[in-house]
Amino acid sequence: MRACRTAEETGVPALAVVASGYIRQAHASARALGIDGVWITKYPGVIPTDSRDHLEKKVRDVVVSDLLQGFEAPIDATTETAVEPAPHEIVFTGSLDQVQQHFHDELWSDGLPVLPW
């Protein structure tokens, strides 16, 4: 994703290719790097274990078509203008279960429980 940022800073639109198991991490990295909204193309599956035929089929059938969508997709301006909350700003309210789910959805947690203090 850092190369995507460098390209975008240079004036060159970047499209990333990421295996499906790492898509959420890629989006989180993009957000942290200030390029939230960069196009991330999914390779479906586990790349190292795919046969040559499987890889070729997935690239032709999925990756290429997704890249073509990325070429034409407009930039989502809302991701660029989002303002980061202040350190003590309340960003969510809910039950304990709702808080756990929200932390999971936002990638704020690695899965361990979040408890009040």
Partner: protein
């Protein structure tokens, strides 16, 4: 979090849990609504069979857009190698030298 007592299940308020971002937001560049005659660069971290993928992607794009040209991943260096800092430092100049209109960056896995 601060608990707020209620008659049923407690409701909790969550304060922003992350540290302040240190990377300023980058305004993304318009992509390629008309890919014909554009030049696409491939940037690779030299893992996860990106060489195989890029060859297939290039062939597919060339078939769809006969006037599209390509800059190979060898033009930009290994973005995940032992000289990564130097490669990243040189990347803007290399992108400009290759006159690419967009880059495909991979492979994350």
């Amino acid at each position: 979090m601060r608990s707020e007592p209620s008659s049923s299940e407690p409701s909790y308020a969550v304060v922003w849990p992350l540290a302040r971002s240190t990377n300023p937001v980058v305004t993304l560049n318009e992509r390629l609504p008309d890919p014909e005659s554009k030049r696409i660069g491939f940037v690779w971290d030299h893992v996860f069979r990106g060489d195989e993928m890029y060859a297939i992607i290039e062939a597919e794009l060339a078939e769809r857009y006969p006037t599209m040209t390509f800059a190979p991943y060898t033009a930009f260096g290994n973005i995940h190698g032992e000289d990564e800092p130097q490669v990243f430092a040189a990347l803007p100049d290399r992108l400009r030298a290759e006159e690419v209109d967009a880059v495909i960056v991979g492979v994350g896995a």
